[in-house]
Symmetry: C2
Subunit: 174 residues, 2 copies
DNA sequence: TATTGTTATACTCTATAACTATA
DNA sequence: TATAGTTATAGAGTATAACAATA
């Protein structure tokens, strides 16, 4: 039988008395969910924060028809003219094969131009087209707005340290 | 023509002189990639840190044959005995349809038991089996190890504030 | 009519391995 | 042999919409 859901009773130990209340038709009354150790663990909260921030940025960037992933790619190409696909894939930590369809899409839409290197015909070098630069500019504007929102939540005083910790985790965890 | 990749020259403005050096066979010499504003933006660093931490935890939890996602699900069921699938999906912010195959898998492997509610035959209530509790225990041990690694990077002094900021982002961004 | 959970389906992002063309 | 990039393919994780059973 499973009529009521027992609440976690670690604090008071009133075994079996604290049921998840439901109406006579079984609907929950919004008894809060117990997250246990997830509530204070870094890993879980890191994931939740990242997902929320990513979704918010997704919504913003949808307005100009690009995805967050495209934004990082365009920025890296813009900042490193002539970068190769392998270098690019190393820079954002993905396999080169994952980059192929992305670059293909950017080329097809006229945002990126791809030329063979003169002295190594295996290698492509990537550059933004004028159209690509324009898209990058508006995505950057969009990202700055997003960053301002984040800054307001974090507070200017803590921001630097916060980013420093994030970098440290990215670089040094295992 | 695209023989050398021009380096971003914002600092010195030596237009065209700083090429990405390559050997005569075209291999790069490890000129560092310029990340531009990505280097200090919260959004990008949040993503990088989360991915690194997630992967590290994935490797740990693979040793006991579970994925990070399963861990959150098991914890929530363990902490909220009798929780329904809809409540569960709300608690970790996914659609209920995404939960179906997960719960199915956990039930099939004997970690979770699923019963219809007496007073609402539409609703399932979920509970851990003894086997499920055992798996949760070893996953929790594994997660605590991971958390200790993160704590070492963050530092005990900054940890609380760091988590507080993460929670704030997750709850309040947009 | 509304809600719980399932199904069918599809999309995004990613990786591995085998391949090609060049070196 | 080794490297740059492509292809074929697969897997994880997610969502939407239509649906059946129940309320």
């Amino acid at each position: 039988m499973c009529r009521f859901r027992k609440r976690d009773t670690r604090v008071h130990g009133t075994n079996g008395t604290g049921g998840r209340r439901r109406g006579k038709n079984g609907e929950a009354f919004g008894l809060p969910v117990n997250f246990g150790p997830l509530a204070y663990w870094v890993g879980f909260n890191l994931r939740m924060a990242q997902e929320a921030a990513f979704q918010a940025f997704s919504r913003h960037s949808q307005e100009i028809g690009e995805s967050p992933g495209r934004f990082a790619t365009l920025t890296l190409i813009g900042r490193n003219p002539g970068i190769s696909q392998t270098e690019l894939s190393l820079a954002n930590g993905r396999d080169k094969s994952s980059l192929t369809p992305v670059v293909e899409d950017l080329v097809r839409r006229g945002l990126v131009e791809r030329k063979r290197m003169d002295n190594d015909r295996r290698t492509y070098c990537l550059n933004l087209t004028p159209a690509g630069k324009k898209v990058l500019t508006s995505m950057t504007r969009c990202a700055r707005r997003h960053e301002r929102n984040l800054d307001q939540l974090i507070g200017e005083r803590d921001r630097k340290k916060f980013v420093r910790i994030l970098k440290k985790i990215a670089a040094e965890i295992e």
